[in-house]
Symmetry: C2
Subunit: 70 residues, 2 copies
DNA sequence: GCTATATGTAATATATATTTGGCATTAGGT
DNA sequence: ACCTAATGCCAAATATATATTACATATAGC
């Protein structure tokens, strides 16, 4: 499963650590780390919470196969 | 938790039954029913599979809080 | 009235997301 | 050299998504 580099990048763009993001959305750091690593398959509500924190939408962070131009 | 009427509506627009959608995305009918009923919190991969089947994006079916004009 | 399809819902079982706790590495500051 | 923050990863425990089976209702066609 591929890494989620868009998540990692959006988090970096806001200068938020994995730990901070995790606390903000109410999960543990390991969960955020696993999502970025592509190790699993988070729930939609968690995805929505992450996107809100990073000021992105679901399509921008989790949708695949379209135009993901940098 | 609110019902997902956008999902129900998108499915109706393609004239696909809960059972057909379930088989297409590889889950059971009860799972699709529970998502439409808002009873739980599906995984992002399942959401993506549903959206692909219905020719919609994540934002169109699962994103909340923006402009959802009918 | 009978049969078939579509839907809503419930109980129990299984798979997996998520937590907890821990260890290792890297980079920065003192 | 030491300390701290940030990250990657791992094993075991817990919470919850999902499967399985089943029952009920409504509608449509025969």
């Amino acid at each position: 499963m591929g890494k989620n580099l868009r998540l990692k990048s959006a988090r970096a763009a806001k200068d938020i650590s994995q730990k901070e993001l995790a606390e903000t959305v109410g999960v543990t750091r390991q969960t955020i780390n696993a999502i970025e690593s592509g190790d699993f398959n988070p729930s939609i509500r968690l995805c929505i919470a992450i996107c809100r924190t990073l000021n992105k939408t679901l399509d921008q962070i989790f949708w695949e196969d379209d135009g993901n131009a940098e």
